[in-house]
């Protein structure tokens, strides 16, 4: 159906804004406590199939085994190897903050040292010429007083030379 050209069409502007305070639950809570207090990144392993999880999982999503025993956790990183990445050049509204994304913005999948686990996080480097899968990266933490116990206690992964 085509609107008649002379009719003014009305639009309504509305913004949904919901404040959220999501429970992290456990063991994710313990993972964040360790990030905040000790700059430690932890992973764990399924006792049945050996699959590794970072952040630690309480059950294996493959075989449903319980794997949340803290004494079996292993500290991984903060160094690791970049598996793959993207660079975002187009800004958009970040729904959790309401602010526009600063571009360029890059995110990588980092295989952390210590266990075969991958953590997805921001990369410091945003120049596509300077990012290569296989390059070495290291987590950069916020200063202790600024850490809140969430994933952004890690600012990003910076490129390192070894």
């Amino acid at each position: 159906m085509k609107a008649k050209p002379q009719l003014e069409l009305i639009y309504l502007d509305m913004t949904l804004k919901m404040p959220f305070k999501w429970n992290t639950g456990e063991p994710l809570g313990e993972f964040f406590r360790e990030l905040k207090a000790n700059e430690k990144i932890y992973a764990n392993q399924c006792p049945t199939c050996g699959r590794n999880y970072c952040p630690p999982a309480n059950i294996c999503t493959r075989d449903h085994s319980r794997c949340n025993e803290k004494d079996k956790w292993v500290a991984v990183g903060p160094k690791g190897t970049l598996l793959t990445f993207f660079i975002c050049e187009q800004s958009f509204l970040i729904p959790t903050t309401g602010e526009m994304l600063e571009v360029p913005f890059s995110v990588g999948l980092v295989m952390l040292d210590g266990a075969p686990v991958v953590l997805q996080h921001c990369l410091q480097e945003t120049d596509v010429e300077k990012i290569k899968p296989g390059m070495r990266v290291e987590a950069v933490f916020k200063p202790k007083e600024e850490r809140k116990g969430n994933i952004f206690d890690i600012i990003h992964f910076k490129t390192i030379k070894e």
Partner: protein, 381 residues
């Protein structure tokens, strides 16, 4: 094709105003663990399909069912979601079985209302063109429905308050209930007025929790338990969305849904044949209105019906022996928890709130503004 659907087992979390030690998927994990143990099955080998009920806005994300397969062993299995009310997830789970596609289905529902401000979600569920900007939410709309109900039929706030007194009292016998109390009608009437005639006690409290059930074909249900509960009838029906399109003092949609369900179950005289009712009263007046819609009393007689004492725990037809939604059940879980309570009643697992010899139960789920949609399930053993 199978002709009967059996409910093998049901499970719930304890309902609480907040459950900070569990994230959403962990609520589902808790009830999945419980229900799998109660049914004596293997999650990996036996469950063929998962039907969940949750809502994106309440979870604060899109695709609120995304973490469900992780905790229900659902990877590479059939998974689907209902976003309205948990009773519909039970209905769709039953359809999975009746279709012949699956023999054993896990249904789950979860919600943590403590995570956000629910009035925003209510407001955003309301027509965006003509109504939302007025700031309407479910409590204001419910107050207008309650007022219309009072005006048309002479129902009183005292009669609404009796529902709160009954349900919060029943909740004392329910270890899963969030809020229970010994109250008087005066306590309810004197509590903080939200929107005339609805006080803070007339409204269901903010609640977190989850519920799960195992549904199976007749053959498998009989193998797994000596107390299978059969879905004997089901009906659901929608009313128009706009309040001004409806007669708010009558619940036409629920009347239609319950008649369909009773016809399927072969029920001719609901009040005589049904032993126990678990219904979804988000506000106290709704229990009276829904008892009318369920055909337990005539139109306009919901007030007299509570006065008669028949709906008390020891009455002829106890309504919400669990304590109902007023004792604290989250949205989306609401209807499924009604079904679970009814299942436990029929299996004789309801502890202190057990209705002796219960053989036929009705569970009711509803959603939307002023009970726009209703789902009625008749269960028997």
């Amino acid at each position: 094709m199978p002709d009967r659907v059996g409910i093998v087992a049901a499970a719930m979390t304890k309902f609480e105003a907040a459950k900070p030690w569990q994230h959403l998927a962990e609520l589902v994990l808790e009830v999945t663990d419980k229900v799998v143990e109660a049914a004596g099955i293997s999650l990996q080998k036996d469950v063929e399909s998962i039907v969940s009920c949750s809502q994106d806005h309440w979870d604060g994300r899109t695709i609120s069912s995304m973490p469900i397969p992780d905790v229900t062993c659902g990877h590479l299995k059939d998974e689907s979601k209902v976003a309205d009310d948990g009773a519909y997830a039970v209905l769709y789970g039953a359809m999975h079985i009746l279709s012949g596609d699956h023999k054993l289905v896990l249904v789950v529902s979860h919600c943590a209302e403590s995570h956000t401000d629910g009035t925003i979600i209510e407001n955003w569920s309301i027509d965006h063109i003509f109504t939302r900007m007025l700031g309407l939410d479910y409590t204001l709309a419910a107050a207008m429905q309650a007022r219309r109900y009072m005006d048309k039929y002479g129902i009183t706030p005292e009669q609404f308050a009796k529902v709160v007194v009954k349900n919060k009292g029943n909740a004392k016998k329910n270890p899963y209930a969030q809020d229970s109390a010994t109250l008087s009608v005066i306590d309810v009437l004197k509590s903080q007025m939200l929107a005339d005639p609805i006080t803070v006690m007339d409204r269901k409290p903010v609640s977190d929790g989850a519920c799960a059930m195992i549904l199976a074909t007749e053959e498998i249900a009989k193998k797994l338990t000596d107390k299978p509960v059969w879905i004997k009838g089901a009906g659901n029906c929608y009313d128009p969305h706009f309040l001004g399109d409806r007669e708010l003092a009558d619940c036409d949609a629920l009347e239609t849904a319950s008649k369909k369900a009773y016809k399927m179950a072969g029920i001719k005289n609901p009040v005589k044949e049904i032993d126990v009712v678990e219904l979804s009263e988000y506000y106290s007046y709704q229990e009276l209105l829904w008892t009318e819609g369920l055909g337990l009393c005539k139109r306009g007689e919901g007030g007299k019906f509570i006065d008669s004492g028949k709906t008390q725990l020891n009455g002829d037809i106890p309504v919400n022996p669990s304590g109902g939604l007023l004792s604290g059940i989250p949205i989306t879980v609401a209807g499924m928890s009604r079904v679970a309570e009814a299942v436990w009643q029929l299996q004789g697992r309801s502890g202190e709130r057990q209705i002796p010899g219960a053989k036929l139960a009705v569970a009711h789920g509803c959603g939307g503004i002023c009970g726009q949609m209703h789902c009625v399930l008749v269960l028997g053993n």
